[in-house]
Amino acid sequence: MSESYLKKENLTKLIEAFTGGGGVFIAPTVEDRQIFYRPVSTGEEITFDYIVPKNSHKEILFPQTEVVANYRIGKDAVDVEGVEIDPPETVFFGIRPCDAASVASLRSVFTWDFIDTYYTKREEKTLFIGVACTIADDSCFCTTVGVTPDGSEGSDLLLKETEGGNYIVEVVTERGGEFVKRFDDIFTGPAPGGAVDGMKPIVDVPVLEGVNREKIHDFLKNTDHYENNALWGEMARKCMGCGACTFGCPTCHCFDIIDEGTAFGGERRKNWDACQFDFFTTHAGGGHNPRDTQYKRWRNRFMCKFNYYPNKFTSKGCVGCGRCIRVCPVRLDITEVMEDISQQ
């Protein structure tokens, strides 16, 4: 793990050098009073005062909507033409350790029983520059699910802020090392001139005492508890099925394939879907819906993250970024449910 140094004032130079070659540089920026990850062209557009932006890298690796095929309906046949994507080289700057840990989660599901090239081609072209956390809020719970505010998993480079407002750069992967070499006039050696620009303290995110992960694991494994309607009904009664949690979550990955067009042709698209939507589990043909009330759908979300997903993959179903808690209009707090189940 070698170290170098990046001054914030050189960010514009870095962005211009990278985008000059056709690349896209994505960083947190203020849009209409909120912070989103968007493509930027100068360092001044970047905001550094955030916990996690409203959106995540999921939008880049797995867009909300994309065309996967075009079709034309002729007199005797239907012509279907698959869409091949050629994503540009992308730098994703400012990813937090929680989000970075979730990149592996998306990769697991999109390279599982079918290699989804719409995902893999994008991930191959993306370099993740992580920034360790010096601030947090009470919706953050990374440490409760096994992620740390200075974790390097998922980042190619991990930046740690200094008191002087610059970054100590830790090279995590080979790819990150090549990036630093490519721009070695911008990434300087450790603390230039021997001046000490100390690291800002990493924020302390206390593990939630009321959460016992083993107990949750055991509880969810027991299918009798799955049918314990009274408990889930009570915990999730206020959920109104808006899906905002699902769409903001960096590990949620469900999608729908739909056709849009006229009688003569159109596009086949892959769009985000959410298990929170009423008709997510409606069966074709009969119309039966096994998850016909909202608490059953919310129960699925919890089970998927803490039971089904961990059973299949080593990556995490939940990384504790807290977006679901912040965005929920009725404040259905997943950590409260974790605490309630830990006490069962």
């Binding site: 849009e31 209409d32 009073r33 909120q34 989103f36 409203k54 959106n55 909300q64 909507t65 009470d138 009904g233 009570e234 009664r237 206020k238 109104m240 099925g241 808006c242 899906g243 905002a244 699902t246 769409f247 903001g248 729908d256 739909i258 849009e260 698209r269 769009n271 985000w272 959410a274 939507f277 009423d278 008709f279 009330t293 909202q294 608490y295 912040r326 965005v327 209009p329 009725v330 404040r331 259905l332 707090d333 409260e336 605490e339």
Partner: protein, 297 residues
């Protein structure tokens, strides 16, 4: 006032007719309020009422919440703005007036978003609807908690939402179009706006019909415009400006602007404001022989 609310809730539950009190309670960390469903008289102390009580709880009276209906007859803690929504639900036959007990809460305003609360309710953190409220003393209720207040809203609607509407009205058509397309570009089609709106109660929304797909579900400009305009039109004359759609939107689209513009338009055309009389039907869902025909030239 909280004590009066808790006492009333206990009284109703103990009498046996009301089986659940839908109200506001604290989350575990006591940093934000959240909807609670009290079925046991011993739990009434969980009920609170303060400027963080922003949710429009009338949502839980609507038809799709079958689990809540199964609990039995509800009493609902409602601010004046929430009661306006209940009035429209009654007018549209979704809720029977004698099927619910309304506990009206006298309200001096709430915060625009719970995250803005820093200990004091100042005018800057209150939403526009509070500055123009004429139902701080609940207008339809079975019981009222809180002492009556004397607040006169301005004669003409004023405040941030109306200022912005005025500014948009003054713009050229092309600029207005760009303003909205830029905002709708952010839409991710989560449908949170529709899910939190008590008046979006259709069990199968038009956007969920897929044979054929009338409104595209993709989050591209065309699909987003179709969705947002359709929802606005379906709410025209019905929306009571609770502001929940804008609060729920995860990408901060200023939905109040479009819904309130339509409310002003309906008021101009039909001299109607929704939610004041539970026996009056919103103009776009009825045909009345008295309707003016001055638009036929």
């Amino acid at each position: 006032m909280e004590k009066a609310l808790q006492d009333k809730a206990r009284e109703l539950l103990e009498a046996g007719d009301v089986k659940v009190v839908i109200g506001y309670g604290w989350n575990k960390r006591k940093t934000q309020t959240t909807p609670v469903f009290i079925t046991d008289p011993a739990d009434v102390e969980r009920l609170v009422f303060n400027p963080l009580c922003v949710n429009n709880l009338s949502l839980y009276l609507t038809r799709q919440y079958k689990d809540i209906q199964a609990l039995g007859k509800p009493a609902i803690v409602a601010k004046g703005c929430d009661i306006r929504t209940i009035a429209v639900l009654i007018a549209e036959g979704q809720v029977a007036r004698d099927g619910i007990v309304i506990i009206g809460a006298v309200c001096n305003g709430v915060v625009y978003r719970q995250e803005l609360w820093k200990g004091e309710l100042t005018p800057e953190i209150m939403p526009t609807k509070c500055h123009n409220c004429d139902v701080r003393n609940p207008h339809i209720a079975d019981h009222i908690v809180g002492d009556p207040v004397d607040f006169q809203p301005p004669d003409d609607p004023s405040g941030m939402v109306y200022d912005k509407i005025g500014a948009l009205d003054g713009q050229e058509d092309g600029d207005r179009w760009s303003f909205w397309m830029e905002h709708f570009e952010r839409c991710v089609k989560c449908y949170a706006c529709s899910k939190i709106c008590p008046l979006c109660y259709c069990e199968r929304c038009i956007v969920e019909k897929n044979m054929p797909q009338w409104i595209e579900t993709s989050a591209h400009a065309r699909g987003n415009l179709a969705w947002n305009l359709t929802r606005a039109m379906h709410l025209a004359g019905r929306c009571t400006f609770c502001g929940e759609c804008e609060r729920a939107c995860p990408v901060d689209i200023p939905l109040n602007l479009v819904n309130q513009k339509l409310a002003l338009t309906i008021d101009d055309a039909f001299e109607y404001k929704s939610g004041y009389d539970e026996n009056e039907h919103p103009p776009l869902i009825v045909y009345s022989p008295d309707d003016e025909e001055n638009f036929i030239k």
